[in-house]
Symmetry: none
Subunit: 238 residues, 4 copies
């Protein structure tokens, strides 16, 4: 192996669509209705962009930033090399955009307003469930790992996630903790200073699954259940 990639050359990641994309049959031209054709074009553009992002996700998560070849991204997306540059200024922009906007929706989902009158434990159980369903069992886990791996080398990216994701996540955790303390579900008030402790097992799961799942699969749900049992006193639960 010559340059720098650890594993096999030529796309260790299996590529699903070898030829040109299916293109969802746009060849039939109605020849009038400029507006529709314009929106069609816009639609096509959006599709292409999405294809590129999707392909980039696969390649970047499989190889990391430096070892990913835009050539491979293009092939996987079913576009020419130059096409990528119609949508993204350069490799780094594609990479950052991918990471920037992929984890954002999570915050919305995780911060969904809890049903009233519910226990703190139930609130966090809901968090955990969403995390498992929407991250652990999804490509988002790969994205999170990618962020953990490359964040240090892209300070602006780290900052973005700190501000847009982490700060809100920490705040949410703190609210749950405060609520739990208030309701007597959580006894240790120092937890308020380290709300990260609530998320630590979730993060560990993501890292573990990336590195060691091959050798020792980890049941995220069960692990988090145990975590919850430890963090919350059962007293006030039904």
């Amino acid at each position: 192996m010559s340059r720098s990639t650890p594993s096999s050359r030529k796309s260790a990641v299996p590529k699903p669509k070898p030829g040109r994309q299916v293109a969802t049959a746009t060849s039939g031209r109605s020849s009038k209705s400029q507006a529709r054709s314009a929106s069609l074009r816009a639609l096509r553009a959006a599709e292409r962009r999405a294809a590129i992002v999707e392909a980039a996700l696969e390649e970047f998560t499989a190889r990391g930033f430096a070892a990913t070849r835009l050539d491979d991204v293009a092939k996987r997306a079913g576009v020419a090399k130059g096409t990528i540059y119609l949508y993204f200024a350069d490799k780094e922009t594609l990479f950052q955009e991918l990471l920037r906007f992929s984890l954002l929706p999570l915050i919305g989902e995780l911060g969904a307003p809890p049903p009233p009158g519910v226990s703190a434990r139930a609130m966090f159980e809901s968090f955990a469930e969403v995390f498992v369903r929407e991250v652990t069992e999804t490509k988002r886990a790969d994205l999170l790992r990618l962020l953990i791996s490359e964040g240090q080398r892209f300070p602006s990216l780290a900052e973005f996630h700190y501000r847009e994701v982490v700060v809100h996540g920490i705040a949410a955790m703190r609210r749950v903790i405060a609520y739990g303390i208030e309701r007597g579900e959580i006894s240790n008030k120092a937890l308020l200073d380290y709300p990260q402790l609530l998320m630590a097992p979730a993060m560990l799961t993501v890292v573990w699954q990336g590195l060691f799942n091959r050798f020792a699969p980890l049941d995220a749900r069960a692990l988090l259940r145990t975590h919850i049992d430890i963090m919350f006193d059962k007293g006030n639960a039904p």
Copy 2:
């Protein structure tokens, strides 16, 4: 910059030794005493090797595997580029060797025989203290982050660490947990199934400090203290 690294070129990492290493004048050969000169040479060789590994550590942790240039490693180590190949087969070998043997000693330290009659909490407190002192506040934290970042792309490396480090660590955690349950310091027996929970905050600290310390410094010791307070019932502590 064209290829792949996000930040500045030309060694973002400050290099301590600008000129060629002092090299302690080896050119004048005394021409007798082959045995001593042989051992001297071996010593010199060992030093060189160590210098290369040390330099590689700096560069790899600062840039990751792919973006690190052997040229920079050589410069930092004070040797010629070709010299690296006298000690390591190639870039990947150097990288793996670096990671393979750098974290091993930890297991010994962490697995040091606990003083008899001590509480489970005290045992884990000792663990935590060693971890903070020997990892968090050391270059080992960088190595751990490097492992987390690149492990997925070097399966053999991940396997090595799983077998040589993680398995033992998990076993040690489990022993502490069992002991804690036995002594009544730990009430939740399910923890025995997920000893990772004991380590999760430590790992979170390492990741956090790599990504977010700039924006929100994290006090590893205090965080772990809180963690310990939660995991261990205080009843039986002195």
Copy 3:
């Protein structure tokens, strides 16, 4: 910047019309009067062509042939990139056409029939004045520089200008010289063999102004006046 241009990317040459050209609303077709609409269309076509040539002039003179991007020409002309190909076969054709027809009119102006009975000196003074007014102080100087710069690499272009411009210019110079000799204004008959000497200062001016005007502005008119004083004996002048 990676490829080839020395200075700043993104059009160092200031572009006058930022948005799309006004285009004088051609979309509403009155659907009758085909003849007039045809001529209108022809007019529109001629305008477009002219806009492209004008834009090409700016860009080519600013960057040279190879470093000029048709994309920039199109933007500056207010047309789409593809439109250029409706009027010109390719980049080189556009370039050559630009150069071919831009300098031709000069020959007419420079070869204008001199008022009868005038001195040779006056004839050449008139040449010089036209040259200063119509070349030196005009974009034509840029075109001349462009020809000088790229002519060697476009042999057919050099040949064209030799035949269509230079030959006539040389002939005109020779006529002036012969006339001057005949009238006793020029004493050195060898000048007839090197009529280029009459034009040399004009050419030097164009080159100098392209390269060094920043550091040492050159007054074309005054320089040529001195040149004339040297070439023509003052005896017979009024």
Copy 4:
């Protein structure tokens, strides 16, 4: 033709040495004498550098800066593509260095101290002769044309030549003119203000030979002789 070059692809300029350079038989290693081997290496480096510069000269003068491929320069120099980067930072540096140092020696030659008691005409005749012999009939003419062609697009280059070459040349011309006026060889004192007029025919020759020599060869020596006859009164000549 695809990208940008006007004429034929694949090196219009004939390449003399297809294989690896002759390398002047350095294979015989004397195995001792480090100093000599070091100087040998230095010698080799100097040769290589020279080969690259020489090749670059050919290619740049044949195609201009933008259209020259470093690949071709490397092939012509008999080195690998990467080798160029051991000696020059990038394409532009190679180009500028080529131009910067190739014309400098001229100033020395042209500014050689004139024999005492000689006429101004003889001094300038000597200038002219050196110019013809060392520029017109040499590759330096190509370099001068290259400078004229690309100077506008490399402001620093134009400035360098203005300061290092032109200023001195102009000063030398002015000295000759002053001397000629003093000796009564030159009558028009205004020439002191436009010493460029003395050089104009030389420059015209270089440009002409680049563009039109194919169609109308120009005898530089004869043209300059006529020029001299016109500029200098014959009175004081023998």
